[in-house]
Amino acid sequence: MATFKDFRNQVKPNWCPGCGDFSVQAAIQRAAANVGLEPDDLAVVSGIGCSGRISGYINAYGFHGIHGRSLPIAQGVKMANRDLTVIASGGDGDGFAIGMGHTIHAMRRNIDITYIVMDNQIYGLTKGQTSPTSAEGFKTKSTPSGSIESSLSIMELALSSGCGFVAQSFSTDLKDLVALIEQGIEHKGFSLINVFSPCVTFNKINTYDWFKENLISLKDIENYDPTNRMVAMQTLMEHNGLVKGLIYHNPNKPSYQESVTGYSESPLSKQNLTISEEKFTEMMSEFM
């Protein structure tokens, strides 16, 4: 059986020292081993940006795509081979700006993949511009007088988009993050895990200390029931989205693959591609 070390490759990440993404990388490797995966059972699809490089830093089938499109690629992979575990990942710009359309529709569609976002509230690779999750008033190279656009409430948006597994975490909480990723992988349907992953170079506001001070753990809220969507929404609103833990889980919603008429129970990728003469003749006769 594989251990987390088997999910390591020898590639040195080009992230800055202290970047939150290192912990996310480690958490994915541990969670994959903990749920019993072998490296070749896993596909990691990522977008563009600092965090998008993660598919190259995990020993698994990695696909580093184009900006904002990790989700459609990942959904295509899963539809082709339902036996593969598919993780999509990227940053807040990738998933919530250029790729937002896909994020909402992937949640609605509910193909069984896990989406892990490394949210640092800034564009790092392009050296410090505002992102959709930047707070109002946040000063960056592209918002020298402070951001005048609203910050996205991504967890609320996930709830309203029909996502059946909504979680948020903080990159230094390795143990909790690993557990959430495991649950996300095991959830039969689309799971979203937004991880606050501080950018130590360009974001001097949302720092490790800032998150430690401002994030509230759902474990500290008495009798919090993650299966109650209304409570989940209310809690998010009360705390301005700054909560961590499993926010909402609906284990009963059937996944896309379970709902598609005629969809092969064995991986489509292993099917024979030929068509019988009888079937072909039948299909032709329908045009006669």
């Binding site: 059972d41 089938y61 081979n81 489509l268 072909f280």
Partner: protein
């Protein structure tokens, strides 16, 4: 007796004009006639003039005819808009309800039949199209019982009563026509057909059927005219094969999802038209640099932007060849008949896997939507070729390092591993990468990988890159086209030959990589070359000049008003070019 009939039905969109044409055409196809139907429609659901022009012949036909023998009119606008196409022996059969009048210069005979009145008497005015079909049949000498099977198929599930009243509507229409017109119009009696079973389908049907025969099991697509029929057919059929169609949020998702599932080992397509293809350009580059097979169908329509969404055009050609930033290997094929659309669709999937690159199957609105009689397709010709795909050996690999998925090889193609394979892990990235897929900016590596990718398609083998009719050694003119212009060009050849010109014809089937060697001798032999295409800037002519030269003898014959070339258009303009030189 006539061997060929050109028939048109027109009225307001949403009034059953299409189904009138459809029922008439299916019945005639089953009698063994060859048909070619072209719909004139607008980008709206109800209202606006629409018509369906159907050519019926005892021989194969592949183009819209120049004139018209019979016009079925549900409103005066139909007569006003289309009356000029009728020749002097033609007939207009119009609904008496709107008190039809002939335009002054129209020499055709007008017969008013109370379509609506008869239909209403039988229960519902909706059946007026059946009355019209009956009147048509009487004019052509076709037995009304011919329609029984088609009517059964369409209305059978609504019960016997509905079937019977529709059949009665047809009979009453025939009777009413004969009563009004008498026996004076026998000139239009159609010669009997051979009664053989053939298919009646649009190009999009053939592409979709080809996709299944070619092993495609998934499709990701966003609806668009004139491509949607492909996804509509596949959503009905793919579940029989364990697959499905995913309707995505946009064309970017469609193309990237298709890349994801092709990467994971399933032949997957997407289909769209100009606006969708514009959105897919970045994905096409991703497929190119990651060497992931990808099949995209582009059903060209009028551009740019939303352009003429329901009209014929061939203006995506250069964008399909050169579109995406940077330089990638790409294959662009352009079937020119419905049969070719089927076989090329299969071949697109083979080429995409063999060359591990994007393959664009270029169609145009006329080919995609023109409905025509097609001879049965050949099962024996269906091939599945997957190229360099890893076998089980890789699982025995002792070396646990990343697999060299992008190994530099002589032909440029490297072995592809399907994710999930034991010991086959490699990385894929749209960033320039080394042989294992790890990002690399090393200049020599960049050079090696670029050259490896680009040389893949240099040795491309494609069955018929150019359709040739080169019967003359020294033709006065070589006509060149691509996609659906084939039918019209073929009809022009005997007319030009009757005028005394020797004519050869080349229809470009593989537009990229351009078949320069195949075409050059034909260009060389011709005194003049006329390149016929549906765009304003002569894109195919530019390609020919760029790849093969001969600019001094090349003339362009262009049409970009939204309507397909009629053989008469090409004939007349060609004659002018040949008589007067440059026009």
């Amino acid at each position: 007796m006539i061997e060929q009939l050109s028939w048109k039905v027109g009225g307001q969109q949403g009034e059953g004009i299409d189904s009138t044409g459809e029922i008439f055409a299916i019945a005639l196809n089953r009698m063994g006639y060859y048909l070619y139907g072209y719909r004139h429609f607008s980008s709206r659901i109800k209202g606006g003039h629409t018509n369906n022009k159907i050519r019926v012949s005892t021989k194969e036909v592949r183009a819209v005819s120049d004139d018209l023998d019979m016009l079925i009119a549900f409103d005066q606008e139909t007569i006003d808009v289309n009356g000029h196409e009728l020749h002097s022996d033609g007939i207009i059969i119009a609904d008496a309800k709107f008190k039809p009048v002939k335009p002054e210069d129209c020499k055709a005979t007008l017969v008013a039949v109370p379509f609506t009145e008869i239909a209403t008497e039988l229960g519902t005015s909706l059946m007026k199209n059946m009355v019209a079909i009956g009147a048509t049949s009487a004019a052509l000498g076709i037995d009304t019982e011919t329609y029984k099977a088609v009517v059964d198929e369409i209305f059978g599930r609504k019960g016997e009563k509905v079937v019977n009243s529709n059949m009665e509507a047809i009979q009453r229409g025939a009777d009413a026509f004969l009563e009004t017109a008498g026996g004076n119009l026998k000139a239009l009696s159609l010669k009997k057909a051979d009664g053989k079973n053939r298919m009646f389908m649009i190009g999009n049907d053939a592409i979709a059927l080809g996709a299944i025969a070619g092993g495609a099991r998934l499709m990701a697509a966003y609806p668009i005219t004139p491509a949607s029929e492909i996804m509509e057919y596949l959503i009905k059929k793919l579940p029989d094969f364990g697959g499905t169609v995913i309707q995505t949020e946009d064309e970017i998702a469609a193309a990237t999802m298709a890349i994801g599932s092709n990467y994971a080992g399933v032949r997957t397509l997407t289909a769209s038209a100009g606006p969708g293809l514009s959105l897919m350009m970045e994905s096409i580059g991703l497929s190119g640099i990651t060497e992931t097979p990808l099949v995209i169908i582009d059903t060209q329509r009028g551009g740019p932007s939303t352009g003429l969404p329901t009209k014929q055009e061939q203006s995506d050609l250069l964008a399909m060849i050169y579109g995406t930033h940077g330089e990638i290997p790409k294959i662009v094929i352009a079937p020119s008949t419905v049969e070719e659309a089927f076989y090329d669709s299969i071949e697109a999937f083979n080429l995409a896997e063999e060359y591990q690159c994007p393959v664009i199957l270029l169609s145009d609105l006329q080919l995609s939507l023109g409905k025509q009689t097609v001879e049965p397709l050949d099962y024996e010709k269906i091939q599945i070729r997957r190229g360099k795909l890893s076998d089980q050996d890789i699982e025995k690999r002792e070396d646990k390092s990343y697999f060299k998925r992008f190994e530099v090889t002589e032909d440029g193609v490297s072995t592809r591993v399907i994710p999930g394979t034991k010991n086959g892990i490699f990385h894929v990235t749209g960033v320039e990468h080394d042989e294992t897929g790890k990002p690399s900016e090393v200049p020599q590596n960049r050079k090696d990988q670029m050259e490896k990718r680009l040389r893949k398609v240099s040795g491309l083998s494609f069955d018929t890159p150019v359709y040739k009719n080169d019967k003359h050694n020294e033709p006065d003119v070589l006509l060149v086209g691509f996609n659906s212009t084939r039918g019209s060009i073929e009809e022009v050849i005997p007319r030009l030959e009757a005028d005394g010109y020797k004519v050869n014809h080349a229809q470009i089937r593989l537009v990229h990589p351009f078949p320069t060697d195949e075409l050059k001798p034909m260009l060389d032999a011709a005194k003049k070359v006329v390149i016929v295409e549906h765009n304003a800037t002569g894109q195919l002519a530019s390609l020919v000049k760029m790849n093969a030269g001969y600019a001094e003898k090349i003339e362009s014959l262009l049409k970009y008003d939204g309507n397909p070339f009629l053989p008469g258009d090409i004939h007349q303009q060609c004659k002018e070019l040949l008589t007067h030189g440059n026009v």
